[in-house]
Amino acid sequence: MSWIATHFNYVVVVILMMAGLFIVFSSGNLIKRMIGLALFQSSTALFYISFGKVSGGTAAITLDAQGAEGQALAAQLDPAYVAQFGVEGVVYSNPLPHVLILTAIVVGVATLAVGLAIAVRVRESYGTVESDEIDAVSRVAAEQAEPAP
């Protein structure tokens, strides 16, 4: 039971990863495959971020630097919090995975845009975005080209 509690996030990541991969491999529709790819890539975000969470931590924007307002807020909204750690002693979550995942999300949207653009061109050129139909069109074209005099 406690193993589930400590590794629940990873189990979910695995499920999402499998779902994304399954869509990419099983679907013949190019758009659907791109959606699967986006799902697959986003699961890595969950994976990294899960590493970086520190229980009882807070976002790595240092409170003391937000000046009097930050202190006042921290004291007003959660007095126990400040009483326990003080504004100086607040525990922060690990910022490094956040930075990495920012990059990964950007890469993901870049891939999505380029992939969908290519899919649109495929549709313009072949009249379809289904792999099977594209293959069929290609095969017919190849057979027509073959008995060239």
């Binding site: 990863m17 399954f22 758009i31 791109m34 949207v109 845009a113």
Partner: protein, 356 residues
């Protein structure tokens, strides 16, 4: 953090992750692409909320503007140009993919036993470099937002790469969709019964406000969540809103596609240029401590910004400011280019091309 808040945080974590699983399963199951896109947009809202629970507001910000915003709009544009329904796949064709996914999943499950417990502050991931950033960022960089400090300075080279990836996407989409048959972009006769005065007025008010907000996000990035990337996407969303309401022709008249492409390239030049300036001033690439020449550095009173014991804060400050500007330029211009690419094509133009 108090115990009830801690428990609430974990409960939120579990609840949101379960939502993600349900949504992913639905995406697998549905054949309608529009439904899949809508579900993915909800997915990305949930995952952004989850990121907030995980104390990653910067990432949540990005996921929100990218996943729920740009990706959804781009995907809608794509299915307008292709089709909205996927062909049914017979179960026989799903066996091998299922096995492959199962294999990967099995490997991951096997590997989980070696992963640290969730939330463990002493895990290797949280104790080595990550902890070091929290301790040194204030001293080295002076920005309260450690994520910005790491993103802009410690791992600024990664961010340069990320900006270049965005430029590559801009080039890729422009190569694919930026030329060839275009939509006529003529104003429509107007569907009967439509009068969108409210929307038009609202949009007219909102566009400058959104850009103002983007600038706030841009310059607030070292103090709170946000930064060049998020601001760039928000600015692009303002332009996209303009195009959606007033039509693509009006928008391209204001911001021509060529100009957008040029700005995207210039953004990377700004970013890499900062690095080169640092080299010229005798430092390494992107070493902002050498961004300002010693003469300028000497004119700045000590302790004006950040830690008075560390003299180079102004270099870091301006360095991060400049590269964030480069990121803003590239990202906003690229998102606009991508939108132009997808929105500017129409099925009719394509059909005409095919008939020819």
């Amino acid at each position: 953090m108090t115990a009830p808040v801690l428990e609430a945080s974990f409960a939120l974590n579990v609840a949101l992750l379960l939502m993600l699983v349900v949504l992913a399963a639905a995406v697998v199951w549905t054949r309608s692409l529009l439904a899949a896109i809508l579900l993915m947009s909800v997915y990305s809202l949930v995952s952004a909320t989850w990121l907030m629970v995980m104390d990653a507001p910067d990432v949540a910000f990005t996921e929100a503007v990218v996943g729920a915003g740009i990706s959804t709009i781009v995907a809608l544009g794509a299915i307008l140009l292709t089709r909205g329904e996927a062909v049914r796949v017979s179960w026989k064709r799903q066996v091998v993919p299922g096995l492959l996914a199962g294999l990967v999943g099995g490997l991951l499950i096997y590997a989980m036993s070696g992963l640290p417990d969730f939330g463990d502050p002493a895990s290797p991931a949280n104790s080595h470099v990550g902890r070091a950033y929290l301790e040194t960022a204030k001293r080295d960089i002076g920005a309260p937002n450690v994520v910005t400090a790491v993103l802009g300075s410690y791992r600024g080279f990664d961010t340069l790469g990320e900006t270049v990836v965005i430029l590559a996407a801009c080039i890729g989409v422009a190569l694919m969709l930026g030329f060839g048959p275009r939509a006529t972009l003529a104003p429509p006769a107007g569907a009967p019964g439509d009068h969108h005065v409210v929307l038009r007025v609202t949009a007219k008010m909102l566009v400058p406000l959104i850009i103002l907000f983007a600038l706030y996000v841009q310059f607030h990035g070292d103090l709170g969540a946000g930064g060049g990337f998020q601001a760039g996407v928000i600015a692009a969303v303002a332009i996209i809103l303009h195009a959606l309401v007033f039509g693509l022709r009006e928008t391209t008249a204001a911001i021509p596609p060529q100009a957008a492409r040029a700005v995207a390239a210039l953004g990377v030049v700004v970013y890499a240029g900062v690095g080169i300036v640092c080299i010229v001033n005798g430092g390494g690439f992107l070493d902002y401590d050498h961004l300002l020449t010693p003469q300028i550095e000497a004119m700045i009173p000590a302790g004006l910004l950040g830690d008075p014991d560390k003299p180079h804060h102004w270099g870091q400050y301006f360095g991060i400011l400049a590269i964030e500007l480069g990121v803003l330029m590239t990202v906003s211009a690229t998102m606009i280019t991508i939108f132009y690419g997808f929105a500017g094509r129409t099925i009719d133009a394509i059909a005409a091309e095919l008939r020819r």
